[in-house]
């Protein structure tokens, strides 16, 4: 009650049924590609596009073989690539149908979609009347999806190459995607011009190897197809062998099969029926399977050691018996191919080729750089960070270090603005400044602008920027200026009185002095906190003390001419820079001249402004309109 059929017996039965059903099989059109063939590429890969165009160039095609690219979810537009020396713009489409509509001459659909989505996009292509051939690159497409596509292709009279393939190539005419690798290899194997051999195999990698072998022992390939390693390929070895039989330019056929499956028996049957008249050399790899102790899954999904009829020996034997030229091993394959070709040559069936000289292809810039053949000045210099290695660094400090607990945000500002690791008290001071300036209520001009913009329905960034753009000499942007003025005054040994009166005589206000709301009676708590921190942690507070002297003087003039928060941050930074022993006089001058310090207000206040924008959006506040009664219309 628990028996199950040993696979061998069953497969023999299957095989006899299978081969008889081959008669009913629809045959593929003999000619898939010409020198005018063009492809539409789905989910295009940049390297593959360029390699196709480079092939076109050395093959002296008049038109590029890539007609258009399909990038689902894109807004269209154009993609740039090289066609020889010139740059080519290739249209990009959002959908398969749009691409086909705009390019009725493109009859090859090259699908780079993943195994999850290859089905949908291939199905769309098979429905398009202008598409004749669909190539599916993805490995791991479910068998049922592959079979559904195959049945659709048959109904619509189309050809599928793949899945799990690199594609194929018709020498000197048309190349699918990455087939045959780099341009060096194409030149070395003379794939830019037609030979006389029709080649088909499962494996893409081995195809390329065989193009190399065939270029050495024959006049090269006319066409080569890799059908892909899956169990149910869209087109089979047999399909392509029968195509080669019909193509007059193909004088001999070379097949590299693999253990697993029955595809090679289709060739055996075709030979037996006399449907193959051209010389055909075949080798089925996987003879090693017999020495394996248990069933082994090889690299290709369709290559599984198991039943006897699916073995390499059985298939090689059957092919040989049916009249194919079969070597004794892969090593011997090149020899029997060479012998077979020599016979064709001797009988005059193949004529010597007049070798064309392929046009020189310009070296790609990247390749040339790699090879050390060119140099080029850079356009941009950057000194604060490096994202090229394994790990992002800020001024040389790896991000994993920066993310450790002892690093505060002030340290990050130290690395990226001041380009050094600041002492802990300095980093904490920076962070305190950020906290202090993060927000100052909804009524200040920056926050107000952000609120108005947010209520006008602008996005977060626009609302934030609307507030940030108010930062300037009168709002939050006085830190640098106050540092400049106080530094200059001390550098020039001005007394507070000289400074104040000097500025007054020029009609200028002293930046960092004065506040709209706060006064000597209503002291700004933020300034108190800053002063307290500096007194505790800074080794010198010379600039602060000077500024406080100035404040004493200005307070005599008006009660609100206090040292404000901008001014206090400005002078305390002067103290910090001068007393921490990390900066030279020149560096401090540069920091003040370039204007680092307003950055603290910009960064800090962004936090508050974002808060305001989000707040308004959260509350679905409508468009703000300023009330009439709040405006004095003074025109008459």
């Amino acid at each position: 009650m628990t028996g199950s059929i040993p696979s061998e017996n069953k497969q023999q039965v299957d095989n006899s049924l299978k081969t008889s059903s081959n008669n009913k099989k629809m045959t593929l059109p003999a000619r898939l590609f010409t020198k005018q063939s063009q492809a539409l590429i789905y989910n295009y890969k940049e390297a593959a596009v360029q390699r196709m165009l480079d092939f076109d160039n050395v093959s002296q095609r008049d038109t590029p073989s890539v007609a258009g690219l399909i990038h689902p979810g894109s807004d269209g537009g154009f993609y740039k690539a090289f066609f020889g020396f010139k740059e080519l713009v290739i249209p990009v489409y959002n959908t398969v149908s749009e691409a086909c509509k705009q390019n009725p001459n493109a009859d090859v659909f090259l699908n780079f979609a993943s195994h999850r989505s290859a089905y949908q996009s291939s199905l769309a292509a098979l429905k398009e009347p202008s598409i004749r051939t669909v190539v599916i690159i993805a490995e791991g497409v479910p068998e049922n999806e592959a079979r559904a596509l195959l049945s659709m292709a048959k109904k619509n009279g189309k050809v599928i190459i793949g899945p799990a393939t690199v594609g194929g190539i018709q020498a000197g005419c048309f190349k699918i995607g990455n087939t045959a690798g780099t341009i060096d290899n194409i030149l070395a194997c003379k794939l830019y011009r037609s030979g006389s051999v029709g080649f088909v195999s499962k494996s893409g990698g081995l195809s390329n190897e065989m193009y190399n072998v065939l270029s050495r022992c024959t006049d090269g390939i006319y066409e080569g197809i890799a059908i892909g390693g899956d169990s149910f390929p869209g087109s089979t070895l047999t399909d392509h062998v029968l195509r080669y039989e019909k193509l007059p330019e193909v004088k001999m056929i070379v097949v590299l099969g693999e253990l697993g499956g029955w595809d090679e028996y289709g060739i055996v049957d075709a030979l037996k029926r006399g449907e193959i008249t051209k010389p055909i050399c075949c080798w089925v790899s996987g003879t090693v399977a017999k020495i394996f102790p248990t069933e082994v899954q090889f690299g290709h999904a369709g290559a599984k050691s198991g039943g006897e009829t699916e073995s390499a020996e059985a298939k090689n034997g059957a092919l040989k018996k049916a009249g194919a030229v079969v070597p004794t091993s892969f090593e011997d394959f090149a020899n029997v191919i060479a012998e077979t070709y020599a016979k064709l040559e001797a009988s005059g069936l193949v004529k010597p080729i007049e070798e064309p000289t392929p046009p020189e292809l310009p070296l790609d810039f990247k390749t040339a750089v790699k090879a050390g053949k060119v140099r080029k000045p850079t356009s941009i210099i950057s000194t604060i960070c490096d994202d090229r290695g394994d790990e992002l660094t800020y001024n040389g400090v790896p991000i994993s270090e920066v993310c450790k607990e002892e690093y505060v945000l002030g340290d990050v500002i130290g690395l990226l603005w001041f380009k050094r690791k600041l002492p802990s008290y300095a980093s904490r001071f920076i962070e305190m400044c950020l906290k202090l300036v993060a927000d100052h209520g909804p009524c200040v001009s920056g926050a107000h602008n952000t609120i108005v913009a947010a209520r006008a329905g602008k996005d977060l960034v626009s609302s934030l920027v609307s507030g940030l753009l108010t930062i300037g000499p009168r709002f939050g942007g006085a830190i640098d200026d106050s540092a400049r003025v106080f530094k200059d005054a001390i550098d020039r040994n001005l007394t507070p009185e000289q400074l104040v009166e000097g500025m007054k005589s020029k009609g200028k206000r002293i930046p960092g002095i004065g506040h709209l709301i706060k006064s000597a009676d209503d002291i700004d708590k933020r300034v108190v906190i800053l002063k307290q921190y500096a007194k505790t942690h800074f080794s010198s507070s010379k600039y602060l003390e000077y500024a406080l002297e100035v404040e004493k003087y200005t307070l005599q003039k008006a009660n609100n001419l206090i040292l404000n928060v901008d001014g206090c941050i400005g002078v305390l930074f002067l103290d910090l820079l001068h007393s921490c022993d990390l900066f030279t006089k020149e560096e401090i001058k540069e920091i003040i001249d370039v204007g680092y310090l307003n950055g603290f207000f910009v960064v800090g206040r962004s936090i508050g402004l974002i808060g305001h924008a989000l707040d308004q959006k959260r509350m679905r506040q409508p468009l703000y309109r300023h009330p009439y009664d709040d405006v004095l219309y003074a025109s008459d």
Partner: protein
């Protein structure tokens, strides 16, 4: 890897679970319990509310290890009480058996109600390229091989609905409960299609006292590539379905490790350990080329020395290639015995795999295992072409020179498999004949004269 075999328990569980969903609400009343080394004992399982049938019915116990012919080999316990079944399992658990020349431990059992029956039908469905083939016979059971000529088959074109197919010729009028059987086959067919099975077999299924079809044995294979669509339907007892290894094929930890890397990457990395004390090891790029390298070693009569089968392809990144290479080199360098060994770093001419990048990973591994490589007397033979192969080969050559490890490096101008003969000569302690005219640059020659000779001129391109 596309097709995965399921245990009988998993097959039945998945069919039973999905039956009401895809078969017009019909139910498949199967009762079964799995006992494994990690599960409670059968006696303990019988205490669970839903499993009370274990105590009230007579039982059948079978090992569930992906091998057949269990009845013929006396591994099936029929018509047993709970206690007998429990004893049977305890006695056989983790014991070695030999099936079809393959030895292994029995670890999983399936326990079901004993079902006295008269008829035994055979049913299988197999995915073919253009159709699904239904095979049916009223002569099911352990004699099916002898009765194979009585099995009728019907090909259902892929995509056609089974409801539109007439099964009356396949299931002729001599069959009892004919309409029930036809309905059953159609239902199994629907499950087969919807659940991405590649193969389902019931040998046999029988009829209950009400004349309803009831599978006594079942085995199934699913298409693992469909797991992104079907994984939730394949769940067994709330967990992802298990894909066990073929019987007698326990996985080495290294194989499991490579499987794990493989699953995480879009590229492909495969390793099968063949002979841990082999002296020829292969690290070959490409699903097709890797088979040919193994073939060539066997063709030359050294299959018994082949340590592994494996391949890497699909442009793996440097790090994955490094881990893969470390695994193979660590296997190849174990238990040094001073006799020479060889590592084939082979491959065809890549279409798009960056040879320089993958070789960087391999070189990192060689550096890490430098001492082991020398201790194990390994020579490394490299042959490869493809994008950036020149720089890949030249780095490989440099590392041999630097570390004093014998590495021979060849490009696309020599035959792909030519390094196999060199490796065989090396393990036989011979000086390969090719060496005399190929200006081979082992570390020694380079080191002694300080001149960097290119093996065959390819690096000067």
């Amino acid at each position: 890897m596309a097709r995965k075999k399921l245990r009988e328990y998993s097959t039945k569980y998945i069919l039973r679970n999905n039956f009401p969903i895809y078969c017009n609400g019909d139910k498949l009343n199967l009762k079964m319990i799995q006992v494994s080394p990690t599960s409670p004992s059968l006696q303990d399982l019988a205490k669970v509310q839903d499993n009370q049938w274990l105590s009230t019915t007579k039982l059948v116990v079978k090992p569930d290890m992906l091998f057949g012919k269990r009845g013929k080999n006396g591994l099936v316990l029929l018509n047993a009480s709970l206690e007998e079944a429990d004893n049977f399992i305890k006695e056989k658990m983790n014991q070695p058996v030999e099936m079809g020349g393959k030895k292994g431990l029995v670890t999983h059992f399936i326990v079901e109600p004993f079902m006295p029956h008269d008829v035994e039908f055979y049913l299988s469905i197999t995915a073919e390229r253009d159709s699904n083939r239904i095979a049916f016979s009223n002569c099911g059971g352990i004699e099916i091989e002898e009765n194979w000529d009585k099995v009728g088959t019907l090909d259902v074109p892929y995509g056609d609905s089974i409801d539109s197919i007439n099964l009356h010729t396949l299931v002729d009028s001599s069959i009892p409960s004919r309409e029930y059987v036809i309905d059953f086959i159609k239902n199994v067919y629907k499950l087969f299609s919807e659940l991405s099975f590649h193969f389902v077999e019931m040998n046999p299924f029988t009829l209950t006292s009400q004349g309803k079809p009831y599978p006594l044995d079942a085995r199934g294979e699913v298409d693992e590539c469909a797991s992104f669509k079907c994984a939730s339907k394949w769940m067994v007892n709330g967990e992802d379905v298990e894909f066990p290894q073929p019987f007698g094929r326990g996985l080495y930890p290294e194989e499991t490790y490579v499987n794990e890397i493989d699953e995480k990457t879009g590229a492909s990395l495969k390793l099968t350990l063949l002979n841990p004390s082999g002296r020829i090891w292969a690290m070959v790029a490409g699903g097709g080329a890797s088979v040919i390298y193994a073939d060539t070693v066997a063709d030359m009569g050294y299959g018994h020395e082949l340590g592994n089968y494996g391949e890497y392809s699909g442009d793996p990144n440097e790090d994955d290639t490094y881990k893969y290479a470390c695994t193979i080199i660590s296997l190849a360098t174990r238990n040094p015995d001073s006799r020479p060994r060889a590592l084939l770093v082979g491959g065809g001419i890549a279409n798009f795999t960056d040879v320089a990048v993958t070789f960087k990973g391999i070189i990192r591994a060689i550096k890490e295992y430098k001492d082991d490589i020398i201790k194990a007397n390994i020579s490394i033979f490299v042959r490869r072409g493809g994008p950036n192969y020149q720089s890949g080969l030249s780095s490989m050559r440099d590392i041999g020179h630097k570390l004093h490890i014998p590495i021979k490096v060849y490009g696309p101008d020599v035959n792909m498999t030519s390094i196999v003969a060199m490796a065989i000569s090396h393990i036989n302690g011979e000086t390969p004949s090719t060496e005399q005219h190929s200006h081979s640059n082992t570390a020694h020659t380079n080191h002694s004269n300080g001149v960097h000779i290119n093996g065959n001129g390819i690096l000067n391109h």
